[in-house]
Symmetry: C2
């Protein structure tokens, strides 16, 4: 779905090469990703659980974001070989190591959210 050669994606690459924070940010930016990560951490390990843990997300978007997170290696998908269609999602070590940072983002948000 992404063009490998467009000014847009080339700029993104270049940015990630000199701005490490922007690289990290890119892994977690995506409408529902933070909510998904915290939901998984809170025990929602299955697709249907995540669907209700993350209000308003649609199945398509949820599947996409899960795939992204998996590609970024923040989560791991375990397929149960017995049951063809049944997987569980868990945070990877990488994902876990990111959670304290996300927690700090949340704290900052609470303290600085505008009242408007």
């Amino acid at each position: 779905m992404r063009k490998p050669s467009s000014t847009n994606s080339e700029n993104e690459q270049a940015l990630h090469n000199y701005c490490d924070a922007a690289y990290t940010l890119s892994l977690i930016s995506g409408r529902w990703k933070l909510s998904i990560l915290t939901s998984i951490q809170n025990g929602a390990h299955r697709f249907s659980l995540l669907k209700s843990a993350v209000p308003l997300v649609t199945e398509r978007i949820l599947a996409m974001q899960l795939l992204d997170l998996e590609k970024s290696e923040l989560i791991v998908k375990f397929k149960n070989p017995d049951h063809g269609r049944s997987a569980t999602y868990r945070l990877s070590g990488k994902g876990l190591s990111l959670m304290p940072l996300i927690e700090r983002l949340a704290i900052w948000g609470i303290e600085n959210k505008k009242d408007s």
Copy 2:
């Protein structure tokens, strides 16, 4: 440029109400914002300085992101009343308080960037 009533923006609002980290993230997501913030911190206080401090950014996008950051109150724009067209950009208190978090994002990025 944003539709006030679209599923997209309504979802964003709802998300920010229950996920504080996502709120914070939304203030700094935007292709060049992190690079702009760190450049300002490093002394690039003028438009033209930022233009060269942030490689590849175009004037239009730079102006947009600066406006966004100003609206989010992460930076402050000081207009020199003597000179009509001359402003300086500084980090606000809010912006400054976010910098340590951005630094941690960068550290995580360095440690976890894939070698691929």
